[in-house]
């Protein structure tokens, strides 16, 4: 736009823009997109100056929170939580609020493109017909075992469609991955449930009904599993019962945003969490005069206290709290699981819950409800499986790789060698809406709609007691020349013909979704029911999904949980650095928020740093190393080196340094690119016993570089003037 444009001209342009944009109906599937009419001939449901609201599902993470998006004149104005949706009951996190900055992000991929070469930003625009032809050729001219799909944790309807597609052509099932799943150690949680209860499923921790919560590293108020639902539980824990205020103890090497809310912070030495849990278990059994179960019989309280750097008195005090609480609950999570013995820690925590008999009881541990349209909880790939996948790419057997909804080049540890492996793949097709690192390493980008322009559903993995399918519908017509990936695949299938075309004989994405939803019409206990699919779909859109009105959590049997034997050795660490390295997901920005300027400018809850990566170092350690705030240090592990500015953090163990994950993008648009550092570059590909990445198992060395780079922070800093921009 011309810089000297007058106010009058600006209004003219804005007016024309508003008149030519379009809105769509919320009235049912028969009317897909409706083109906006002139003001004099408005669709009956639209009134000038009044807002129209659409229920949909947030796609900033895979928790499946419901949104109500306010739109006016075909523009999306504000995202708020959907009060009907049992996952978030009308609330959102900061990421959900800024989802509109993703929708209207100036750096979105606006058209289907073909790159000059991988890594090059020079690309030529294509039309969608030739794009579909490229996909059809890729699917039909390669043998089934030469085709691979890599998908993100959301959306589920597309994952189902790709699963059906791969089945039809006889290719391998799509691999599913996401950085949040990696840092949540979902495979470990699922494995622990199966170890201890003999039952598959994602554990559900009933925080709201507990009166004492021991969290072993779980950052459940930040990004972990379903943060909005868990925050509601936390709120209930504290003030839900007027007669008592629930008590909360956090065990972790640094005070996280979650830890800052705890009544007590126990800075256990990294790697010794399992020992502490077992010692507490032993003391609880003794305090409650229970015969010491096998699980805790090997525990040595004094040795655990010494190893964990916690006094025996503290352990005794904690055990007496846990033993005397009416509804005690212990939660395993975060870095405690991302260690070589992470599964043992998770198992031990579940055993501690079994010891106080809270399995399957209010305020205790359940298995999460199984979402509609699925037989069980299917976890994303763990690092072991990703590593096998990377090896498969490296072998050159895969000729075409499709990537949707995930940015593995950024998210996976560099040491896995994904970029190198991708160079062995003849053709890479990305469906990313944003110019992320993976899209940059692709030959083609066929941009999907943003989540708010899309149809879809998300099977809710955990967070609420009922079985929930969150529904998504477009709240505006696509803003750019993008196309739903589901529609691209369906159209490609028709081009190819044969069994694939007959298996995927759907007119469009919505028809596919309806074919899935049709099984729910006759399901009992639904929030609503309908005589036929179109009415059902209309309600599905209106309410933002379908869920049961019953408690569908599974109460597992504590089974043999207390008879398991644990070995009592601490975790193994990689490298010979002096400091434990603790990467954590940035609480506000998470793994993919870096391209949203308002999230960048939202202060980190504990450090108040904005727009960059920091390294947290204990004040005493900093003093020893001669480091001050804002000094740039280089951190070296056996896998690599990164540089970042120091934030001297008073609430971290002196032997640990911590770094947020979420910045350090080499691409991903103007707000993210070239900003900060990525701690994943320091990680090796070592895993825990459940195959999850042992992301907290590195030991690193810290060196002063002599450079200084001022971190922007919300908290007061004296004398910032003249310091910015200088190295």
């Amino acid at each position: 736009m011309d810089k000297k444009i007058s106010r009058r001209d600006f209004l003219k342009v804005a007016g024309v823009g508003a008149a030519t944009t379009a809105v769509l109906t919320g009235c049912g599937p028969a009317s897909r997109y409706v083109t906006r009419q002139p003001y004099t001939k408005m669709p009956e449901y639209t009134y000038n100056g009044l807002s129209t609201y659409y229920a949909t599902t947030c796609r900033e993470c895979s928790a499946g929170c419901g949104l109500i998006v306010r739109t006016m004149q075909g523009r999306a104005l504000k995202a708020e939580g959907n009060q009907n949706n049992p996952v978030n009951l009308g609330k959102t996190c900061a990421r959900g609020q800024t989802t509109l900055e993703g929708l209207y992000n100036p750096d979105r991929v606006t058209d289907p493109i073909q790159r000059d070469s991988r890594g090059s930003t020079i690309a030529k625009k294509m039309d969608w017909n030739s794009a579909i032809q490229v996909v059809a050729d890729a699917l039909s001219k390669n043998k089934p075992d030469e085709i691979a799909f890599l998908m993100g944790l959301a959306p589920d309807h597309l994952f189902d469609l790709v699963t059906d597609l791969t089945k039809a052509i006889g290719a391998a099932a799509p691999i599913r991955f996401g950085a949040l799943g990696m840092f949540e150690a979902r495979a470990t949680l699922v494995q622990a449930a199966s170890d201890m209860f003999g039952q598959e499923g994602l554990p559900f921790f009933d925080i709201g009904n507990a009166d004492l919560v021991f969290s072993f590293g779980a950052n459940f108020l930040e990004t972990w599993l379903s943060p909005v639902a868990q925050t509601r539980g936390y709120s209930q824990l504290r003030r839900g019962n007027p007669n008592r205020r629930g008590y909360f103890v956090q065990f972790e090497p640094r005070i996280s945003q979650t830890g800052a809310k705890a009544d007590e912070w126990i800075p256990v030495k990294p790697g010794t969490e399992a020992l502490v849990v077992l010692a507490i278990g032993r003391l609880v059994a003794e305090a409650n005069n229970i015969t010491l179960p096998t699980a805790f019989s090997n525990a040595d309280v004094n040795a655990a206290a010494a190893a964990a750097d916690v006094s025996v008195d503290t352990l005794k005090h904690l055990a007496s709290l846990f033993a005397s609480a009416r509804r005690p609950l212990a939660i395993p999570g975060g870095a405690a699981l991302g260690e070589s013995n992470g599964l043992q820690t998770a198992d031990a925590v579940l055993a501690l819950n079994a010891l106080v008999g809270n399995i399957g009881k209010d305020g205790g541990v359940f298995l999460s409800p199984v979402a509609p349209l699925t037989d069980a909880y299917h976890r994303p790939a763990n690092l072991k499986e990703m590593s096998d996948f990377v090896d498969l790419l490296k072998s050159g057997k895969i000729k075409v790789l499709f990537v949707h909804g995930v940015n593995p080049v950024f998210e996976l540890p560099k040491s896995l060698g994904l970029e190198d492996a991708m160079s062995k793949v003849l053709q890479i097709i990305s469906f990313s809406s944003f110019p992320d690192e993976t899209a940059l390493q692709s030959d083609y980008v066929f941009p999907d709609h943003h989540g708010l322009e899309s149809w879809g559903y998300q099977k809710v993995a955990t967070g609420t007691s009922s079985s929930v399918l969150s529904g998504a519908q477009p709240v505006i017509v696509p803003f750019f020349n993008t196309k739903a990936t589901a529609d691209v695949l369906l159209a490609a299938a028709q081009k190819i013909g044969g069994t694939l075309a007959s298996t995927l004989k759907f007119t469009d994405e919505l028809a596919y979704i309806q074919s899935k939803l049709s099984t729910l019409i006759s399901e009992p206990d639904g929030f609503f029911s309908a005589p036929e699919i179109n009415t059902f779909t209309a309600s599905f859109q209106q309410y933002g999904g379908w869920w049961k009105t019953t408690d569908n959590r599974v109460a597992p049997s504590a089974g043999d949980a207390l008879n398991k034997t644990f070995n009592t050795s601490a975790a193994q660490f990689n490298g010979d650095g002096d400091y434990f390295f603790l990467p954590f997901v940035a609480p506000v920005m998470a793994e993919a928020g870096a391209n949203k300027p308002h999230l960048q400018e939202t202060a980190d809850p504990t450090t108040t740093v904005m727009w960059n990566t920091w390294v947290e170092i204990n004040p005493d350690t900093a003093k020893q190393l001669g480091i001050q705030d804002d000094d740039v240090v280089s951190i070296t592990s056996s896998a690599g080196t990164v540089e970042a500015s120091v934030y001297v953090y008073p609430a971290i163990r002196p032997d640990t340094i911590a770094m947020p994950f979420g910045q350090g993008h080499a691409a991903y648009g103007q707000f993210a690119q070239g900003r900060g550092a990525n701690p994943a570059d320091l990680l090796s590909n070592s895993t825990n016993e459940a195959g999850d990445l042992a992301f907290a198992s590195m030991k690193v060395s810290v060196k002063k570089t002599g450079k200084k780079r001022q971190l922007s922070r919300l908290e007061g800093v004296l004398g910032v003037y003249g310091k910015f921009g200088q190295q």
């Binding site: 959102t92 996190c93 900061a94 609020q97 904005m610 609430a651």
Partner: protein
């Protein structure tokens, strides 16, 4: 209001001029510092972002911020309960008497602080005098597509109910006055009073912990009045006598 705290009152000249007095209660025991309110406020009120360098100079423009302080030192260190701070809409507002152009004015009927953008000439005296540092200043045209054409698509989600401010103008939390007005209009057209809970500002709407309650503090039956009536209640910098409309409930046991 907690019994021992002074309550704001209307300064209207006649009884019929008195309108609802709005207030807020923030439960610091529930606030998890998640910043959802900060993001929600910015998205609702067309608050611009300023970029890394200006943010470092303290020019970031969010109308609400979450404060935390540290107590003690390792290993006996604790974070103070997170404290969301926004304009307290003081009854005796220090920002008002210092404005030379009457841009910072008081609503007599509702006892709210108003900022009149088209009067503001940017002296920043009000911000200087605000004990809560609740006011933010537009140092530049941060998101104006005419100045920064690369951001033009972002303007699409601007809220048409809220003025987009230009360079040189002071601004602050308005208690989402557009939402109050909307509810008032709806109630008036339906010939009824506003219901308790009908006005929900963006911050309270988003808050996953439901730590923020908003409503009429001149009516003792409202949720906000009842939430405030506890021994945990306090006003920020109570001793200054500003008589804020926001009551904080202490965190911790």
């Amino acid at each position: 209001m907690p019994k021992e705290l002074k309550s704001p009152t209307s300064s209207a000249n006649t009884a019929q001029d008195v309108q609802g007095i709005w207030g807020m209660v923030v439960d610091q025991d529930l606030c998890t510092g998640c910043q959802a309110c900060v993001a929600a406020c910015s998205m609702e009120n067309n608050v611009p972002f300023v970029g890394e360098v200006d943010a470092g100079y303290g020019r970031s423009m969010q109308w609400i911020r979450i404060e935390r302080f540290w107590q003690g030192s390792y290993p006996n260190i604790k974070a103070t309960p997170y404290q969301p701070v926004m304009c307290q809409n003081c009854h005796n507002a220090p920002c008002e008497p210092v404005c030379p152009v009457y841009a910072s004015v008081h609503s007599l009927s509702e006892d709210l602080n108003l900022q009149v953008y088209n009067r503001c000439v940017g002296t920043r005296y009000c911000a200087n005098n605000c004990p809560y540092e609740a006011r933010v200043f537009n140092w530049r045209d941060y998101m104006d597509p005419r100045q920064r054409p690369e951001l033009v698509t972002l303007a699409n989600h601007f809220n048409p109910d809220v003025t987009v401010r230009r360079r040189g103008v002071m601004e602050k939390c308005t208690f989402c006055i557009q939402r109050i007005r909307h509810a008032e209009d709806t109630a008036a057209s339906e010939n009824r009073d506003i219901r308790d809970g009908e006005v929900v500002p963006a911050c309270a709407q988003a808050c996953p912990a439901s730590a923020i309650t908003f409503g009429r503090i001149d009516d003792p039956t409202t949720k906000v009045s009842q939430a405030a009536d506890t021994s945990r209640g306090s006003h920020l910098l109570e001793e200054l006598g500003t008589i804020p409309h926001v009551t904080y409930l202490a965190g911790g046991a």
